[in-house]
């Protein structure tokens, strides 16, 4: 019997689990495959558009899940995130007061809030020369896109004998390879300025690798996030998972939840499909962090949307014709508001369940594409739901 069973192994579920395990709660995390944060840039977008995410959140609609957490709660949760990442060797830089710019593979600047330390030196608006080092054969990363938008930039190509982000990141873990790489770069006599690389500087020791190369070349270097397979996304997921395991949390890599046992007001156990005999996991309290449509937490039928684990009531525009805007590229389709409505304690409304708490992108009115708040909201609501649950369990 666990104190808490968390369903969903994404950023929100992991943060909730780690917070609870940190408080000595016996936790089990159930994940259907690896989460979407593995495909992300690894950056924590908190709120788009404004120079300060904090101000953006203040001005966002009252129904947005951020308002259930509150500004202090959001700040605390991001600090908690930064603390555990620093403890796991993958330092994050930034604070809730400011959005910072990072360079994208298209040569544009993306505003985000917290960035892995390997992106700290990314383009900040200063007119300093940037030299991009790409790798022979690497798909979906074309330095010419960047140089076409930035006059004060150039590039060279290194032949690493492998041309995938995963292959390159694996190679960077090898010190012999790193020595060859640095020697080659030195021989190129790159003009003064910063060096930018696609984000492939190692899988687990990226900060150390970056610092070592930076020291050798005596200049700042930084990573540019790539399309998936995205190494900073994998690093983020793996370090969080590792942290949870260090704190004694159990993880079940399963498939779907096959069945749910509930009494009048409580969830008592869930059963995981494993390909053979189903595995039953009992808990005193449960967290639902299964994500939105793409992660399978919500499922759309022709005229309705349902929640896939507990069949909780879902908010969505009633008429299918109202789900989408005319233009596909319009930001903020009404269907993106779909999700579970929760009360201040993060319990689902109208479900009459006292031991179930909901967090992450499955929450109604989160409008993640519109506000670019996916990872930030995952962290803030994950920690907030965990706190509420902890208060109830005592």
């Amino acid at each position: 019997m666990y104190d808490v069973v968390i369903i969903g192994g994404g950023l929100s579920g992991l943060m909730a689990s780690i917070w609870l395990a940190d408080r000595g709660k016996k936790t089990a995390l159930i994940s259907k495959g690896d989460p979407m944060c593995c495909l992300s840039t690894g950056c924590i977008d908190v709120f788009r558009g404004t120079s300060s995410p904090l101000k953006g959140i203040e001005r966002s609609p009252r129904g947005h899940p951020y308002h259930l957490v509150g500004l202090e709660g959001i700040r605390d949760s991001l600090n908690f995130f930064k603390k555990i990442m620093a403890g796991s060797g993958l330092n994050y830089i930034g604070d809730i007061e400011t959005n910072r710019g990072i360079l994208t593979p298209l040569g544009t600047i993306k505003a985000t809030c917290l960035v892995p330390q390997t992106m700290e030196a990314a383009y900040t608006g200063a007119d300093e020369y940037i030299h991009i080092v790409s790798f022979k054969g690497l798909k979906d990363f074309y330095p010419a896109y960047i140089t076409s938008k930035n006059e004060n930039a150039g590039y060279s190509v290194f032949d690493a004998g492998i041309s995938t982000t995963i292959g390159l990141a694996t190679r960077f873990e090898d010190t012999t390879f790193r020595r060859e790489f640095v020697a080659k770069l030195k021989s190129w006599e790159i003009p003064n300025g910063r060096i930018a690389l696609p984000a492939v500087l190692g899988l687990s020791s990226s900060v150390e690798i970056m610092e070592a190369i930076s020291k050798e070349l005596d200049r700042k270097i930084f990573e540019i996030p790539t399309l998936p397979p995205s190494i900073p996304g994998i690093r983020l997921f793996r370090r969080l998972k590792y942290t949870l395991q260090q704190k004694g949390g159990d993880i079940y890599w399963g498939r779907d939840i096959a069945s749910v046992e509930r009494s009048d007001t409580q969830i008592e156990a869930v059963t995981i499909v494993t390909g053979s005999r189903p595995t039953r996991v009992e808990g005193r309290a449960f967290v639902l962090a299964t994500g939105s449509f793409v992660s399978g937490g919500l499922y759309a039928l022709r005229e309705s949307v349902y929640e896939t684990v507990f069949n909780l009531p879902v908010i969505f525009p009633k008429k299918r014709a109202k789900w989408f805007n005319e233009d596909f590229f319009d930001i903020g389709h009404p269907i993106e508001k779909a999700g579970i409505r929760v009360d201040r304690s993060f319990r689902p409304r109208h479900a009459n369940l006292e031991n179930l708490f909901v967090c992450g992108s499955i929450l109604a009115f989160s409008d993640i594409m519109k506000y670019r708040c996916g990872n930030g909201m995952a962290i803030a609501t994950g920690v907030a739901a965990a706190k509420s649950l902890d208060g109830w369990l005592g």
């Binding site: 041309s163 292959g167 397979p229 395991q245 260090q246 993880i251 005999r277």
Partner: protein, 412 residues
């Protein structure tokens, strides 16, 4: 789930060990669901790179959409091998069981010569790699020991698997003793290889022959109220996943539903209140390398839950790396380079943790990681055995069976 369910998110690619070090392998997405669209019945296979897949099944475990990526690839591998012929190494490794019978019959001689230069040279010629020493064979295998130990109303069949049987019967006897000490009757019936090595070497017919033989034995006991307990996580995955799945055994589902990992079974007994074992302290620091196939079973990491109950035991779960040996995969000369590269990557977090020993449920993982690091290896059950302060003689084993300082490393 079928290949059509793949949304090309690349999470499988992110987790493919072989893809990370072998540029010739296009990765699970392309080798599986992508290429499947072009594979038609009646057309000859052209994609020889499917053979690079080591069947670690990580792609399948991490797929958020439940696509059976590795099974799609496995079917393509079987088809390719059927059409293009098998190597000597394929034949040998499909029949590790028969080789095990021979080798254990002549164990003293085999152990003397197996790691000599001459034999190693011959092995390399026929395509077998020798970078880690071959495991020692034992004459007194589990199959030769007592059939029934303990007497109780709760009864289990022990499926020990080839590695414990031929190479580490001492661990098998310890596991049996643990089960008996928990008030179980343990039957160790005659059994054969689970069939996985044959499957992995593209020989579905042999795999089915092995599986059918086991199915007859296991179902006989299941029908009489026995549960099946396995120790080797790859044998376990084959019993629960492949018997009803790719091997399509009529009794596959019944076997699958009644088969348990040994540590999972112990936890269940504790949760039911059937036993309340007292774990004694063990002052050790353990790097617990999770075998890919344990992760794939979807039962969590039951041994880690038992470790948590052992006072003073320090451990760290490590599940991000495949050891690279993947059963017989790394023992093939053509896969050696991939296997060694992956093995070295897997040793990095282990060396960082600086453990007294590496624990793993899988004999192959232990051989590889022990061989590459020189750190001693231990089966999780051995830790439990020690923590319960047990000795083999008390539970139907031969006296002094545990003596002799055995390890998964062979003599080199």
């Amino acid at each position: 789930m079928k290949f059509e369910h793949c949304i090309r998110c690349t999470i499988c690619v992110e987790n493919c060990p072989v893809f990370s070090v072998e540029p010739k392998f296009p990765g699970p997405k392309q080798a599986g669901p992508d290429a499947q669209r072009f594979r038609m019945d009646g057309e000859v296979s052209v994609d020889s790179w499917v053979l690079f897949c080591s069947q670690c099944k990580r792609c399948e475990t991490v797929c958020p959409y439940g696509v059976d990526v590795s099974e799609i690839i496995l079917k393509a591998q079987i088809k390719y091998v059927e059409e293009h012929g098998r190597s000597i190494a394929n034949y040998m490794f499909a029949n590790t069981y028969n080789i095990g019978i021979l080798a254990s019959a002549f164990a003293p001689i085999v152990n003397k010569i197996i790691n000599t230069h001459l034999v190693k040279n011959i092995m390399r010629v026929i395509g077998i790699s020798t970078y880690i020493p071959f495991p020692r064979y034992h004459a007194f295998t589990l199959s030769k020991g007592r059939r029934k130990v303990g007497k109780a109303s709760k009864k289990v069949v022990f499926f020990y698997g080839c590695y414990l049987n031929f190479n580490r019967p001492d661990i098998g006897r310890k596991i049996r003793s643990i089960l008996v000490s928990m008030g179980l009757e343990v039957i160790t019936p005659h059994q054969v290889c689970c069939g996985l090595p044959a499957l992995g070497n593209g020989d579905l017919d042999s795999a089915r022959r092995f599986a059918n033989k086991n199915a007859g034995i296991l179902v006989h006991y299941i029908n009489r109220g026995y549960d099946v307990v396995y120790a080797c996580t790859s044998c376990g995955l084959t019993l629960v996943r492949d018997y009803p799945g790719i091997m399509a055994l009529p009794d596959g589902k019944k076997i699958s539903e009644n088969t348990y990992n040994v540590h999972e079974y112990i936890l269940n007994l504790m949760e039911e209140g059937y036993v309340n074992p007292e774990f004694g302290p063990i002052d050790m620091r353990i790097a617990y390398h999770i075998p890919c196939h344990l992760r794939s079973l979807g039962i969590g990491y039951p041994a880690a839950r038992l470790f948590e109950m052992v006072p003073d035991l320090q451990y760290q779960v490590l599940d991000d790396n495949c050891c690279g040996l993947s059963g017989t995969y790394g023992f093939k000369e053509k896969n050696k380079e991939v296997s060694v590269k992956l093995g070295k990557l897997a040793t990095l977090p282990i060396l960082e943790y600086a453990p007294d020993a590496i624990a793993s449920d899988c004999g192959a993982c232990r051989m590889q990681l022990g061989g590459l690091t020189g750190i001693s290896t231990i089966d999780p059950s051995e830790i439990i055995f020690r923590s319960l302060n047990m000795s083999l003689s008390a539970y139907g084993g031969k006296k002094n069976m545990s003596a002799g300082g055995q390890d998964d490393k062979g003599d080199d």
